[in-house]
Symmetry: D2
Subunit: 144 residues, 4 copies
């Protein structure tokens, strides 16, 4: 499976595009697409762990913009986990309109100590919540 | 030279961080950092070509967040060109505060036909404006 | 009827608050509340006239912030028309969470000529679409 | 003196408009104008009191948009105090480009207890810092 293919168990939500998300080019601005992606990621994390995440920072972003996103059509986000490391993990996201994939985004986040702001290993609790969201889960099994 | 090292001839500007650029974590939000990066890129393009760019779209972003950006200290952006292709080219940017590099960003943009919104080759005029901004220019010489 | 009471026929929609709409005070920032208000107004206008409005500008805003708006609870907007003039008209909006009114906003907009950007009288078509949305309509009757 | 005339002792700063502050109408969006106004108010408060304000909320806004604000020309903000009450006070702001006043904004803020989020009277220290910024100061004299 290509790492950018949406796994069947991905978290899915609809994001409300605002008229003001458009820039002078009359499509949603590229940095605003990352705001929408962040919102999808927060909603996914809340669904997976039960809480809005508060002790992590984004360390890296890799984004491919494939089609413009417009104000009007429903914007669908899919979110899953594509990598789990010691103190960081990677979200994969797609954003689609009218069945066409508009953007693929990878965001690597680091868990931090809220007091010191230093990175720290993922808690066992968080790791347990993330593992079932790994893309690889969807293809793991006797036949593979 | 590492591709992320700022060349001597890079465009430099100071960006005004706003109180509202902070998120609940009390640092500048990651997608807002890309808004600031966009502003640096627009200013660089205007300095290089004489006009605010209007016929291009961002195709890809690669971002490394290295230190948090805060409201208060001066935020310095450096912008240069790290690749020129047929119909696209890549900007490299760094953002620094107090002499510490906070983020490195590569943005690949595609030139488009303003009517059809389809990609088209870089004009000779734009290519001529971009070539002197290539990082490699700064180290090109007999010894290389 | 007080001018800030929601008439029964007001346009109603739910707005999606984003995690990023919060500022460092952990509630939705006051200028972001106006972005949300704008979104409600655009949706109301589309519902009333069939099109996203494109030839008008905001001339004045009067805003009363009554309770903080938070990320999480559903945010409900009500929109109606509280005044129709010759070349301008006034939207009234409320924003509520958990049944508590958080903000009341009046926005006066002016219709403009898209070419000259100068104000011009409301078209008969627009006036006909707005009149039924007037708050007063709901209390108009033989006794008035 | 008209309450919207800038007093001579007003705080003055230049705000950096960003390309992204424009909306599809190619001028700075009305809610973004309030973000810029907020930035001017934060800078003024820091200049007057020595600290970035952290225990206050905006209770009301009254805004008159007089001319569009564009990306490009320098944007100059003037900020002063137009009213001091028991637990609230009012900032007046103007925003100008090329010598033309584009917007006049009044923002009433309430000082709050950071723990309980309830309003509380202005501290003597804050009141002492605000009084010299009152518009009336500029016209106070033997005749008054």
């Amino acid at each position: 499976m290509s790492p950018t293919e949406v796994p069947e168990h991905a978290f899915t939500c609809e994001l409300q595009v605002r008229w003001s998300d458009q820039d002078v080019n009359e499509h949603v601005n590229n940095s605003r697409i990352l705001t929408l992606t962040e919102e999808a990621r927060v909603q996914a994390t809340k669904a997976w762990t039960g809480v809005v995440p508060d002790a992590r920072v984004v360390r890296a972003l890799n984004v491919s913009f494939e089609h413009p996103i417009h104000y009007g059509p429903a914007l669908i986000a899919h979110v899953w986990i594509s990598r789990i490391g010691t103190s960081s993990f990677t979200f994969s996201h797609t954003l689609s309109q009218d069945g066409v994939r508009c953007a693929y985004i990878e965001a690597t986040v680091v868990t931090i100590d809220p007091e010191t702001k230093q990175s720290r290993p993922l808690s066992d609790q968080l790791r347990a919540a993330l593992v079932p969201q790994l893309a690889a889960e969807s293809v793991t099994g006797p036949g593979n």
